[in-house]
């Protein structure tokens, strides 16, 4: 399978990764190679096979509804790229 510019732009948007105009062909080619690898799956007969999401057949364990976390926003925000007044900051979003 071969990806074109439209697909690369779509994937770029979904994954929020910029692909520069001059990189599109190269990115498309490498992604297409990987999709070729995927196409090996087509021939396999998987009728009636249950999809497997986890290696072990376990069920979800539950946590008691008890507060165990204390405020540590100052510590966490020390490593934030931009924070002020207890808030993480991003460029203005118009809603």
């Amino acid at each position: 399978m071969s990806l074109g510019k439209t697909e690369v732009e779509y994937i770029s948007r979904l994954s929020a990764i910029a692909v520069e105009e001059n990189e599109v062909d190269q990115v498309a080619a490498k992604l297409s190679n990987i999709l070729d690898l995927f196409s090996q799956m087509e021939a396999a007969d998987t009728d009636g096979v249950e999809p497997m999401a986890h290696p072990l057949d376990q069920v979800q364990r539950l946590r008691a509804d008890v507060v165990t976390e204390q405020d540590q926003h100052e510590k966490l925000q020390e490593i934030a790229p931009s924070a002020e007044a207890g808030l993480y900051l991003v460029p203005q979003v118009i809603e």
């Binding site: 990764i17 999709l35 799956m41 087509e42 396999a44 497997m52 290696p55 072990l56 979800q60 460029p91």
Partner: protein, 484 residues
């Protein structure tokens, strides 16, 4: 001191013949001497190491020490370490000082194992050569032209070169076993769920599993004892009774049924590697084991299945690296979209971006069934192959990788050829089984490992098989001449 086995180190520490401070300083000195060339560490933490060594010595003196108290350890830079940079070898996390410890890190801190530093790796554990690191490739201590394997290449290299007595690694598609094979050390990936993933930066959550990387199987058993165990903070952590992974060391291999899958010795396997692996299996036979042929018919479907599923999970797991709350943020973002797209494309490397994009595509509208769902079905088929194979054998043996360590730069331009370097290890991750790589010989000056895979929770058996093999071979004790 670095030529001692862990058992000897532990005995000397407990007897007061050496101190943890001396031992730790010895390794720090070796790191200063050798690592500039090797590039196996992303960060070295001498102050933390020495402080912990002092505490370990107090613990040793008090008589309340564990077997591994005072023995230094190097953590793969994927384990969050409180107050220490945890980069995942990515520019994205180059400024990330973790505000907490991964479960594995806190477990080993409790034991009193001084932290020497954080080891280099493929960026976000995505790779098989450690070349995709933001900090540059790590060299293979046996041959500086060669890669150490990956993604836990730094960890394998520090053990091989004697720059740490023990190391932690993670294995998503072979990232402990393949570098262990390439560097001539012992590394085990336990059953999925044995070691808590809490605080390990996630690559592909339903595959990621941490394990020890050491010289010998006995060392691995001891380190795994300290790393494994139930952790309520990880929903996939197994609630089992505590296991002593060293419990079976010393058992005879008489009557052990070794399955050898015909599919693991077919096209693509380097003839010299095959010879090493077959010799190793013959050695195990001499110890009383019986070889039987088994089949893993869907082996070839494992690679495409894995390269759909792992990137799909990764595409979602790595969405949190968006330049908002931690990590790299681009200069002067003009709006929100610019902030996201530039922070991510500048902060992440080519292979990581490729996997995120391919994973997002595999989950996107119109492709989910053909790629993601199909791959999940194949995952079950691969698992069922193993279940069936283990009906007629106790363990499976074969190669870890189709070739010895390849040269730096050899495969960087062709991602899919790099993916095939994991064709023997990936099926084990799809199934969630335990697997170990044991040093078994060399092709020229490059080590080759023997791959031993067992049913769920058979770690104690795998470690004993490796241990028995290491009683009659000395591959695991060899060191590259320049590091001796």
């Amino acid at each position: 001191m670095h030529n001692l086995t862990i058992k000897q180190m532990s005995e000397k520490l407990h007897a007061g013949e050496i101190t943890s401070v001396q031992l730790t300083q010895h390794y720090l000195d070796r790191i200063s001497k050798y690592d500039t060339e090797l590039n196996a560490y992303v960060s070295v933490t001498p102050e933390l190491a020495m402080m912990m060594a002092e505490q370990a010595d107090k613990k040793l003196a008090s008589g309340e020490a564990d077997l591994l108290t005072g023995i230094p350890v190097a953590h793969k830079d994927i384990f969050c370490t409180d107050g220490v940079k945890t980069s995942c070898s990515s520019k994205m996390l180059d400024n990330f000082i973790a505000p907490y410890d991964a479960h594995v890190v806190s477990q080993l801190k409790k034991v009193g194992m001084p932290i020497l530093g954080k080891t280099n790796m493929d960026e976000f554990a995505m790779g098989s050569s450690s070349e995709s690191s933001y900090y540059g490739p790590t060299k293979n201590p046996w041959n500086h032209q060669a890669v150490p394997g990956g993604s836990s290449g730094g960890a394998a290299a520090v053990i091989a070169a004697g720059l740490a007595p023990m190391a932690t690694g993670t294995d998503t598609g072979g990232s402990i076993r393949q570098p262990a094979s390439f560097c001539g050390i012992t590394g085990i990936k336990p059953t999925y769920g044995s070691v808590s993933r809490f605080g390990i930066v996630a690559y592909a959550s339903s595959f990621d599993q941490a394990g020890p990387m050491t010289r010998s199987a006995q060392d691995s058993a001891w380190l795994l004892n300290a790393m494994a165990g139930f952790d309520e903070r990880d929903s996939t952590s197994l609630q089992r009774e505590a296991v002593d992974y060293a419990a079976e060391l010393g058992q005879s291999l008489k009557g052990l049924k070794v399955g050898v899958p015909a599919e693991y010795f077919g096209e693509g396997l380097d003839a010299d590697v095959e010879a090493v692996v077959r010799d190793a299996i013959a050695e195990v036979e001499k110890l009383g084991a019986e070889v039987v042929e088994v089949h893993l018919p869907n082996k070839d479907l494992a690679v495409p299945s894995y390269y759909v599923l792992a990137p799909a999970e990764a595409s979602s797991n790595l969405s949190r690296f968006d330049g908002v709350r931690f990590g790299y943020r681009c200069e002067n973002p003009k709006d929100l979209e610019d902030l996201y797209k530039r922070s991510r494309s500048e902060g992440l490397g080519a292979e990581v971006k490729r996997r995120i994009m391919v994973g997002a595509y595999a989950l996107s509208a119109g492709y989910y069934d053909a790629y993601y769902l199909k791959a999940q079905k194949l995952r079950r088929m691969v698992r069922d192959d193993f279940t069936k194979a283990f009906e007629s054998c106790d363990v499976i043996m074969g190669p870890v990788a189709p070739t010895p360590a390849f040269n730096i730069g050899e495969k960087t331009d062709d991602p899919t050829s790099m993916y095939l370097a994991d064709l023997y290890t990936i099926p084990v991750n799809l199934a969630g089984l335990p697997g170990i790589s044991v040093p078994a010989g060399f092709v020229n000056d490059r080590p080759v490992g023997l791959h031993i895979v067992g049913p769920y929770f058979s770690e104690t058996k795998l470690l004993n098989v490796a241990h028995q093999y290491q009683q009659v071979t000395d591959w695991h004790t060899r060191m590259p001449a320049q590091y001796q």
